[in-house]
């Protein structure tokens, strides 16, 4: 074999090995499932703190504030559900589709009486890297009424993960959003978060994707700790007051003829919705919203399998 041909063969083999190397790397990095274990279990809480108010003890238990649950006039004694709303004695969800400046987005306005109605779920019910399922399947499996994409914690091995009161991972990665058992939500920068301390303070959920979309005074932000700033499909969670939250999903990349939103636009939207705290979740092809048995938005390229969801459900 002459030198020219040998050189070409060597280059070909090198390129082939680069491809194989990248495939093997991807396999170990995020494809092959690896189950993890919790590193801290929930701290004990008062058993009466979140029990439901006894309806026979209150003249109008749905609208009267009690120390045992959050009140809201929109709760109903009977469970009423249609394509755009759901109300029961513990939950009220209103789904709205908006179209503004060539952007389609969906907002679920959520009131819950009890924090236990807002839960998170892992794909295949397993915590770890590489466990994936569709948002629809995870939501159906957990009898969710409404759901949104989580932070896709399984795509990386860093970022604080607290789910339903259990600490699974304590490795800092950008902004963190913490939902407490008392219903409050706070966002922390990478340098501020102390997962163990927050767990002791009653952290119930913690997501690590971000960034935080509003500043400490609830105003829109202009600078973000994120690389994914251009127009994209988006998913976000917003907080108004304990028991009152919203899920927001923005369609993009041409789906639904929607362009998607930049982080600045999403920040402005969450501010206009009246949120006090807002946090960006995993977007792109992951951005999916579920309500009453269907995915309501149009995920980019049909969406992808994800590692976790945030969902609303009736308590057992």
């Amino acid at each position: 074999m002459d030198t020219g041909k040998r050189r070409l063969l060597v280059i070909f083999i090198d390129i082939l090995l680069i491809g194989i190397g990248l495939l093997v790397y991807a396999l170990f990095h995020h494809v092959m499932p690896r189950e993890g274990t919790p590193i801290a279990t929930p701290f004990p809480t008062s058993p009466t703190a979140y029990s439901f108010p006894n309806e026979t003890e209150a003249s109008n238990p749905l609208a009267t504030p009690t120390s045992m649950g959050w009140s809201y006039e929109g709760f109903s004694t009977a469970t009423i559900s249609d394509r755009y709303s759901y109300t029961s004695k513990n939950i009220s969800i209103k789904l709205k589709r908006h179209e503004k400046n060539g952007v389609v987005y969906f907002v679920q306005d959520i009131h819950i009486r009890n924090i236990e109605s807002l839960k998170t779920a892992f794909a295949k019910d397993k915590y770890g890297i590489g466990f994936k399922d569709t948002a629809f399947n995870i939501a159906e499996k957990h009898n969710a009424i409404a759901a949104i994409t989580g932070d896709y914690y399984g795509a990386r091995d860093i970022g604080v993960v607290i789910r339903n009161g259990t600490l699974y991972r304590d490795a800092r990665f950008r902004d963190v959003c913490v939902l407490y058992r008392n219903g409050e939500m706070k966002t922390f920068s990478k340098n501020e978060i102390d997962a163990y301390k927050e767990l002791q303070n009653g952290a119930y959920q913690a997501w690590s994707f971000g960034p935080a979309l509003l500043d400490n005074s609830g105003k829109p932000k202009t600078a973000f700790d994120s690389d994914v700033k251009p127009k994209n499909p988006r998913a976000a969670i917003g907080y108004y007051e304990p028991g009152h939250y919203c899920f927001v999903v923005v369609d993009g990349r041409g789906e639904n003829d929607s362009k998607g939103m930049t982080l600045m636009e999403l920040s402005q939207l969450m501010y206009e919705l009246g949120c006090k705290v807002a946090y960006n979740l995993d977007g792109g092809m992951s951005a999916q919203m579920y309500f009453n048995g269907e995915i309501v938005n149009s995920p980019a390229k049909g969406g992808r399998e994800i590692s976790d969801i945030i969902y609303i459900c009736e308590n057992p």
Binding site: V10, L17, I18, H29
Partner: protein, 79 residues
Amino acid sequence: MKKNLFSLIIITLPHISIILSVMLIVFLIIDSMNSAMNFLGNKQTKIILWVLSISSAINGVRLSEAHIRNTGKRRIKLK
């Protein structure tokens, strides 16, 4: 046998450096677009960095050794 294995490793090392360097360039590009995937800070990448550093160091030593040898030969020829 030992000599063959050693020469095989020596021949393979430059290719290992090329392959791992291109892989790291791919990770750097992905990381600049979406660092949420943590392509640079995880265990696998650290292993790649270790192997690349060692192979690059050996390649460097071999190259500079060859350079010195070639320069020496040229000097002898000139004399």
